[in-house]
């Protein structure tokens, strides 16, 4: 029997661009959120003022206070959406406190919602050709229209900033993959350790024959996009934890650390916090502390990253979050799918426009770190219901691969992104235990291989069944 040739994993030049999301240097002085809105408006207004002359020449740009009735003009300001069903902090004082959370609707939209535009001088209610369902509070836009006799602003056209400029991709010779996974939920009822172990084995190259292993050797990075642990709510709802239970609080994290150690021993891993992870609540979430990962943090391949997370691999720009920004958009606006929300955040050039209105956010005084200044090549969102992907093209030849990563504990699927020369190719590997649920009988499905935009997806290898025992 010939000795198999050892395979080497590919390497990629990585640089972490998370400095803008670090809160270490910030000092809280009791400030409120007005500053973050001011910097956002200021920054976006400069952008929009530069764009308006090319789109709508000859129209004057005014402030809200400078509006004249019946005169066609351009207004730039922050949108505020007045929503009837939006939960108000004052409701807590009206209702009785109970241990069970009040049932909230998933989506707070109502036909009576209306938009208001606000700048430093004042605010004006909007009417006309602006789709209320598509916008949320906190978006800065330019509006073309005129003031009506009723005091409203009748919108004729909406101008968004559009996709930011993108740096060109350098063409590369080799194929390299990045694996995205989110919603591992170690410690929850839906967590299946077998599935996670299968994923680890596949990525580290312990699974499959030479074909599979050569694919695995092309994986250069794993990005864990949030919600890796699930701590039982009864430990964190404010009630005292019995001493016998105290050691159980950290069990999910320890279990995650053990499994992560296998992964980091083999390739670089980026760990992002999510809404259920032991990190701060408000965005930007700071990296999980290395004391939580006593095993994995000893490896230099382990990086604990912030949420949102921005990095560069071989000149390909990646940007993504653990899902809070898109989930919040889903609560306050409407779109045909999650990818459309992602597209909108890029067109608005802001990752989380609803922060700080309905999404927790640090009250910065002199910057807004969620502004998207350069267009990423890959934009990912974790903890979504299903896997979806699309290639978004911009007017200045920008190409963004939008990826919605499903929750691993529910779907058993991780996303493998072909990061090199053709960022428009995306494979999904679904690891599910077979009918007898043993590790020696598992199915590895390579589902779709999306060609360049516009092509019909075709099966790559078809289904492959492995019935031999897996040698480790």
């Amino acid at each position: 029997m010939p000795v198999p040739k050892p395979m080497e994993r590919k390497q990629a030049a990585y640089s972490n661009l998370d400095e803008r999301y670090a809160i270490q240097g910030e000092k809280y002085q009791g400030q409120q959120y007005s500053h973050i809105y001011f910097t956002r408006l200021r920054h976006m207004r400069n952008l929009l003022h530069a764009l308006v002359p090319s789109l709508k020449p000859l129209l004057p740009v005014t402030t809200v206070l400078g509006l004249e009735e019946g005169k066609d003009c351009i207004l730039v300001g922050t949108l505020y959406k007045h929503m009837k069903l939006k939960p108000s902090i004052l409701d807590e004082y009206a209702k009785e406190r109970s241990a069970i959370p009040l049932v909230k609707p998933h989506n707070f939209m109502h036909p009576d919602d209306h938009l208001i535009l606000e700048d430093e001088s004042g605010r004006v209610t909007l009417a006309g050709a602006i789709p209320t369902a598509a916008f949320v509070t906190g978006v800065v836009v330019a509006l073309h229209g005129k003031e009506t006799s009723a005091g409203n602003f009748l919108v004729e056209d909406v101008l968004e900033a559009g996709l930011p400029p993108q740096t060109a991709l350098s063409s590369a010779a080799e194929d390299k993959y990045v694996v995205f996974v989110s919603g591992l939920s170690v410690g929850s009822d839906t967590f299946n350790p077998l599935q996670f172990q299968l994923l680890i084995d596949h990525v580290t190259g312990h699974l499959g024959d030479e074909n599979e292993q050569s694919i695995a050797s092309n994986i250069v990075r794993v990005v864990v996009a949030g919600n890796s642990v699930h701590i039982s709510p009864r430990f964190v709802n404010g009630q005292t934890v019995a001493s016998k239970d105290q050691s159980r609080i950290a069990e999910p994290i320890k279990e995650l650390d053990i499994m992560l150690t296998q992964l980091v021993a083999s390739l670089p891993v980026d760990m992002m916090p999510g809404c259920h992870d032991p990190a701060n609540f408000s965005l930007p979430q700071q990296p999980l502390h290395r004391c939580l990962f006593s095993g994995a943090s000893t490896y230099n391949t382990f990086s604990s990253c912030s949420n949102p997370h921005q990095f560069e691999l071989d000149s390909v720009q990646f940007l993504g979050t653990s899902g809070q920004n898109i989930d919040d958009l889903y609560k306050y606006s409407d779109a045909k799918d999650k990818l459309e929300f992602m597209e909108r955040t890029l067109r608005w050039r802001h990752l989380a426009p609803t922060a700080p209105n309905s999404l927790g956010c640090y009250p910065y005084t002199d910057k807004d770190p969620f502004l998207v200044e350069s267009c990423p090549h890959v934009y990912f969102v974790g903890n979504q219901d299903k896997y979806e992907t699309r290639l978004l093209e911009g007017p200045e030849k920008q190409k963004v691969r939008l990826i919605s990563i499903p929750r691993f504990s529910e779907s058993g699927a991780a996303v493998m992104q072909w990061s090199q020369a053709q960022p428009n190719l995306c494979l999904i590997a679904s690891l599910q235990p077979g009918p007898s649920s043993t590790i020696s009988n598992c199915q590895l499905e390579m589902l779709f291989d999306f060609g360049p935009a516009g092509h019909i997806p075709h099966n790559r290898n078809g289904k492959e069944e492995r019935t031999d025992e897996i040698r480790l």
Partner: protein, 131 residues
């Protein structure tokens, strides 16, 4: 505290003449942390007129403080509450709004809140301690 009644508010004598009221309201103003609201309910009205432990009568601050207050109130440079005047100046300058340069010198040479005398420019914004 309400012993003086209305007479305490409309005293014609400038600060320094009233010792009892000033010292207790000074104690109240020093209890706050960062821009949070001040004082117990029955002294709320007195606190509104007091600034940094002394009566804040209209003509009692210098021209420099007046300029700085105008800078605070100018909407072009953004909200003023919650940041020190120098931080706001630096922010405005970084954004290219060109705030008046002489104000920066004023702020750098302003005495700290503890030993401020009368009418000298303050490091904090106009509303500090009052809202």
């Amino acid at each position: 505290m309400s012993s003086g009644g209305v007479k305490d508010f409309y005293r014609l004598k400038k600060k320094g003449g009233v010792t009892k009221a000033a010292s207790s309201s000074k104690k109240k103003t020093q209890q706050y942390t960062g821009g949070a609201s001040v004082g117990a309910p029955d002294t709320a009205q007195t606190s509104a007129l007091v600034s940094h432990g002394s009566w804040d009568l209209k003509d009692d601050f210098g021209d420099q403080e007046e300029q700085l207050r105008q800078f605070d109130m100018d909407m072009k440079f953004g909200p003023c509450i919650g940041v020190t005047r120098l931080q706001r100046w630096e922010r405005a300058s970084a954004m290219g709004l060109q705030p008046p340069a002489h104000l920066r010198d004023l702020l750098l040479h302003a005495p700290s809140t503890k030993n401020r005398g009368d009418g000298s420019p303050s490091v904090e914004c106009l509303w500090e301690g009052k809202v």
